[in-house]
């Protein structure tokens, strides 16, 4: 006995062994088709009695095992069914001969045999024989089952007769000694008459009868016989057979206790046959019946209960039996099988510890040199048994050994396929699933070293199987899930081999389905590189769509009638955190910024990295990147163009790393920071590009109120100069530009600005609309800088004191106080001088806003905003350092005296209305006198509305003065011109800021005319009615002074006048 049957279980002791074999050439497929049908007849109620006969079918059975049939009758082949394929009558005799030969192999033990002939028709097939059945074809053989039942009945008859024959043996008769093959030579020459020998014979026979009873469905009888056998054999120390008797006892008890069976599938089948408990009871009652079929009385039940072993005893007896078997080296197989059977029983009893001890022992049972195949079988069965007792890890361990055995170097044709299959089965034992999702939750916790080994083996096996796609999948899995546990060298090795594999078969995102139905989910490389945050970026400011605030109702869309409620505010806050408050525009490139890092110790090349989206048709523009080894966080921008409108959701990104394509979904990324992934895509809008006639400026305007400026232009102008800014508007988008609105905003400046800084005519431009894509429209803006021309204090001080006409005695005390400050300057003369010079250059800044729209986006009420920053540096041109008036010959006129200072570095001509040009050299100051008609400011409304509040009085005054200045200026028309440039530059100069109250008074047409001296004395009454008594008083004083002191002089002594004028008493 050399070949163990690892599938055996205790119930097998009650079965009859029938071998089904093909004879001649029978297609395997057909054979198994018939075999399957035959084996479906595995239990049968015989002859209306309630005894059940169980049949065990084998299509292969080693004859040497058959020799142990006397030892345990279930090992004996009692029936033979041969299946043959016979096409013509010619072959028939030959076939029949073969059948006989086949019978002889098991001849000594066969009770009966059958031959099934397929394909033969004709007269031979007509004959009716009991041992041969003819069928026309494999599909046309309905009676097979019936035949088998008949066959089993015939087996039963023989069995029953044998049983009765042996059971009724008189003790006086000579009982043959049953023995196992290896014992035979030991008994040669033994005294057959000794009591010892006789007892041995009796004991063995009892045991044999017990076996037969058990097979014949008489459980009770078998128990009795076994008990007797145990007693007999124990007394003669016949250990091998004692063990067998004990095992028989155990088997019978197991059958009684566990009608569901102990061995996997067979058990299930049996349990199916006895779905009703009553049936199960019935089925086991036959043991109490006699062969005559007379119902048992209750004493039999009691007797069985007594004879039957308790569950605990079963194990004890099994252990005892095993210990007896272990005394015999040749009975190794029996011992091993007993162990297996006992373990199965223990598994049912849920006594895992004892089972594992038994198995541990079974591992060390030394059989003869096992073939590789047997080793595999042995390890597999060990694994299965461990699994059954719940030792999953141990089971996995043995299964892995079995897998390794499949490809042992000693095997000429390694079974990589089998190895791979077995390895896959070990996965649960090592708590590994091949789904990367199971590993995405937090840090991996498991037996990394062991799991990695297994994965490596899977990779290797799948490669040897010739399935590179599988190897790539497993290797990707290894890299993805075990990354934290790989050493730097291992990382390199793994990626190297991964690249090798992928060069032949790139890794995909498809589910790989194995032939046995196992599905290998795709492994996206979410850790190569690791993505830490995903941020959807807004469009650049100039392309950002704005919603027209058309209806009041739109802002009031919230259902609540309350303007503010803390609850709503809270909800809104939550919503905002998920939803992105900007929009993307169809057809425009949109960006998503990822922060990634490379965990590898070498440079990581990520190719074809793009976005995965849903909701909107999106054209992703993939990028390739190369991340340095162990890089820190590294920003990567992925771009794409939405092709349709609606809600777009960024689901993830796809990459190609080491030749493996991965689709990484953001939901599966642990520890990811995101500002929301859903954004609205609005319909396409045109795109406007601006180019100007002015040079671009590096100078950026300080952003105010969130305005960002796309382009900045700068220009340098002299104060008073006007320049044209030509703006070319080009539609570089794909939609027509239909609407354009231009607004300008002057950034708050300290400088006082006179006149319109920027002016334009939009109508000319709008005439060119709608602007087709690619077309250009021009838009002209006039820049006019007119700042204060008055001389500032600091400037005055810096100017040569000699020029200064303010050397007045009265002012000298102030100058004295001021002097030390002034004199301290020469400590750093160049800087202070420069600083003073620079301060003259003033800057003006403005933003031109172009709001434009068109195409479908316009229909939806969106527009775009493009800003052009304008930076104007205003250099001083001329200054009016002093202004004064002189009366002219006519009282209706007067001379306005202006001290003009050329602050440029060029020669400058200045002209005014009715005046000849005055040429001023750089830094020169000259006085020019302009004869002007006096103004009648009375035309201005004194106070626009009588009911105006007193608080506004001051402002009103200012306004009035401004209006006056404007009027004066328009009359003067002072212009300057610099010729020294290759292009003549010219501009206006304004006196608006220079005119002070006094000068204004002088310029005002007096309410009284000079010539009418007689009226002078009546002035008092008139003056009283005037609103400005102070001015009138001044006029009066001046008049008196003029008449009394200055009249004799023909010309006016300027200084006197000035003193008088500036410092009135």
């Amino acid at each position: 006995m050399s070949v163990p049957d690892y599938m055996q279980c205790a119930e097998d002791h009650q079965t009859l062994l029938v071998v089904v074999q093909p004879v001649g050439i029978v297609p395997e497929e057909n054979f198994f088709q018939i075999y399957k049908r035959i084996s479906s007849v595995n239990q049968i109620n015989v002859r209306d009695s309630q005894r059940v006969l169980y049949i065990r079918y084998r299509h292969h059975y080693p004859p040497e095992n058959n020799e142990w049939g006397d030892f345990q009758t279930h090992r004996k082949v009692v029936g033979l069914i041969t299946i043959t394929d016979c096409c013509s009558a010619m072959d028939w005799p030959q076939t029949f001969e073969k059948f006989h030969l086949q019978k002889e192999i098991y001849g000594s033990t066969l009770y009966d045999s059958r031959l099934f002939v397929f394909g033969l028709q004709g007269e031979i097939a007509e004959q009716s024989r009991t041992d041969v059945a003819f069928y026309p074809s494999y599909d046309d053989c309905e009676t097979v089952e019936k035949r088998i039942e008949d066959f089993i009945e015939s087996l039963f008859i023989v069995l029953e007769s044998k049983r009765l024959d042996r059971a009724t043996d008189k003790s006086g008769d000579k009982i043959p000694l049953l023995c196992v093959p290896f014992e035979k030579k030991d008994f040669v020459g033994l005294d057959t008459d000794s009591r010892h020998y006789k007892k041995r014979c009796q004991g063995r026979m009892r045991k044999h009868v017990g076996d037969l009873c058990l097979q014949a469905g008489m459980l009770q009888d078998s128990l009795v016989h076994y008990h007797m056998a145990v007693e007999l054999l124990r007394s003669v120390n016949d250990f091998l057979w004692l063990g067998a008797a004990l095992e028989g006892l155990c088997s019978a008890s197991v059958i009684y206790h566990y009608p569901g069976g102990t061995g996997g599938k067979a058990g299930a089948r049996r349990a199916q046959g006895s779905s009703l408990p009553s049936e199960a009871g019935n089925r086991h009652r036959p043991g109490a019946l006699t062969s005559n079929g007379i119902n048992a009385d209750t004493s039999a039940e009691i007797g069985r209960a007594k004879n039957c072993l308790s569950p605990e005893d079963i194990i004890d007896k099994y252990k005892e039996a095993i210990s007896y078997y272990s005394k015999y080296k040749n009975a190794g197989v029996i011992e091993l099988e007993a162990c297996v059977k006992a373990v199965r029983v223990l598994a049912i009893q849920k006594r895992s510890m004892e089972a594992s001890e038994l198995l541990q022992g079974a591992v060390y049972i030394n059989l003869r040199q096992l073939s590789e195949e047997e080793k595999i079988q042995r390890y597999s069965i060990l694994s299965e048994l461990y699994e059954r007792i719940g030792f999953h890890r141990k089971s996995a361990f043995f299964k892995r050994i079995a897998a390794m055995q499949c490809v042992a170097p000693s095997i000429p044709e390694p079974g990589w396929r089998a190895c791979y299959k077995l390895l896959l089965e070990t996965l649960p034992g090592y708590s590994l699933s091949l789904d990367p999702k199971d590993f995405s939750k937090g840090t991996h916790r498991g037996w990394a070293a062991v799991q990695m080994r297994l994965l490596h083996e899977l990779v290797y096996a799948s490669r040897r199987m010739g399935n590179p796609a599988l190897s790539v999948r497993h290797l990707s899995f290894l890299l993805q899930t075990m990354l934290d546990f790989l050493s730097d060298q291992e990382k390199k090795d793994v990626t190297q081999s991964l690249e090798n594999y992928t060069s032949k078969c790139p890794g995909t995102m498809e589910l790989i389905t194995l032939p046995d139905g196992l599905k290998l989910p795709p492994v996206p490389f979410t850790k190569l590189p690791i993505v830490r945050s995903v941020k959807l970026l807004n469009l650049p400011v100039s392309l950002r769509p704005q919603k027209m605030k058309s209806l009041l109702g739109q802002n009031m869309s919230t259902k609540s009638p309350f303007i503010y409620s803390p609850i709503i505010a809270h909800n809104r806050g939550e919503e905002r955190s998920k939803k992105i408050d900007f929009q993307w525009v169809q057809g425009d490139v949109c960006e998503v910024q990822l922060m990634v890092y490379n965990p590898m110790p070498f440079e990581l090349r990520v190719e074809n990295m793009g976005l995965l989206t849903a909701g909107v048709e999106f054209e992703s523009l993939p990028a390739a990147l190369s991340l340095p080894a162990e890089s820190g966080l590294y920003p990567v921008t992925l771009v794409g163009v939405p092709q349709t409108t609606g809600q777009i959701t960024i689901n993830g990104y796809h990459t190609s790393v080491f030749g493996v394509f991965s689709d990484c979904l953001l939901d599966n990324l642990p520890g990811l920071k995101t500002n929301g992934c859903t954004v609205e895509v609005i319909p396409a809008l045109p795109r406007l590009q601006i180019s100007t006639s002015l040079p671009r400026s590096a100078h950026t305007l300080q952003p105010s109120s969130g305005d960002e400026i796309s382009t900045n232009v700068s220009v340098q102008l002299y104060n008073g100069e006007t320049q044209q800014l030509v703006i070319k508007l080009e539609n570089i988008g794909t939609e027509p530009l239909e609407k354009l609105e231009v607004t300008a905003k002057t950034l708050s400046t300290k400088e006082k600005l006179y006149g319109d800084f920027l002016s334009w005519k939009l109508e000319d431009t709008l005439a060119q609309f709608p602007l087709k894509p690619g077309n250009i429209a021009t838009f002209i803006v006039n820049i006019k800088v007119k700042l204060d021309f008055s001389c500032q204090e600091n400037l005055l001080q810096d100017l040569d004191d000699g020029i200064s006409v303010s050397g007045l005695p009265l002012s000298s005390p102030f100058r004295q106080i001021g002097k030390p400050r002034v004199e301290s300057k020469p400590i750093n003369p160049p800087e202070s001088g420069k600083a003073g010079d620079f301060s003259h250059v003033k800057t003006l800044e403005a933003i031109l806003n172009f709001k434009y729209s068109g195409g479908p986006g316009h229909v939806e009420g969106y527009y775009r905003d493009l800003s052009l920053g304008l930076h104007v540096e205003v250099e001083p041109s001329v200054f009016f350092t002093r202004v004064s008036t002189l009366p002219a010959t006519s009282t209706r006129q007067c001379h306005l005296l202006l001290d003009v200072f050329n602050s440029t570095e060029h020669e400058l001509t200045i002209s005014a209305r009715n005046n000849e040009d005055l040429v001023l050299h750089a830094g020169e100051c000259q006085r020019m006198a302009i004869q002007v008609d006096k103004f009648n400011f009375e035309s201005f409304p004194d106070s626009p509305s009588e009911g105006v509040q007193f608080a506004n009085a001051k402002k009103l005054e200012e306004e009035r003065q401004q209006a006056k200045g404007l009027e004066i200026n328009s009359k003067l028309d002072i212009c300057w011109k610099i010729i020294s440039f290759n292009k003549c530059r010219e501009g206006e100069a304004s006196v608006e800021g220079v005119l002070n109250q006094l000068v204004l008074e002088h310029l005002q047409l007096a309410p009284l005319q000079w010539g009418d001296t007689a009226k002078l004395f009546y002035l008092g009454g008139d003056l009283a009615t005037k609103a400005r008594p102070k001015c009138c008083l001044v006029s009066l004083w001046f008049l008196l002074f003029y008449l009394v002191i200055l009249f004799p002089y023909s010309t006016c002594p300027f200084n006197f006048f000035c003193f008088f004028c500036c410092k009135p008493p």
Binding site: S356, Q360, G390, H392, R393, K394, R445, A449
Partner: protein, 139 residues
Amino acid sequence: MAVCIAVIAKENYPLYIRSVPTENELKFHYTVHTSLDVVDEKISAMGKALVDQRELYLGLLYPTEDYKVYGYVTNSKVKFVMVVDSSNTALRDNEIRSMFRKLHNSYTDIMCNPFYNPGDCIHSRAFDNMVTSMMMQVC
């Protein structure tokens, strides 16, 4: 005397595993891993009853040809597994017991460290030294 000492978390993943012949580390991983079956079985056999008086020492888990595997489980279901050379007959049950107790004390010290996150792998020099001393004692 011990050739391999392992600390295994409640969820049956290793917190710490170290063996003396480092070149064959994987073998011990397998040994300890499979021994968890027995540990699980023993724990479930003990049942919920008598949790307080429960013996923490699990005894011999299983013998292999070359090694004996002993187990110990704390009340928080953290397991200690110790693999001992079977040729070392001098080692009695009592010594194994005391070694486990030492191991347990050292583990308790680690848990007392406020910077240690329960469930993380153990990287403690003190524990390392203690394990080394237990491995070096005889061999």
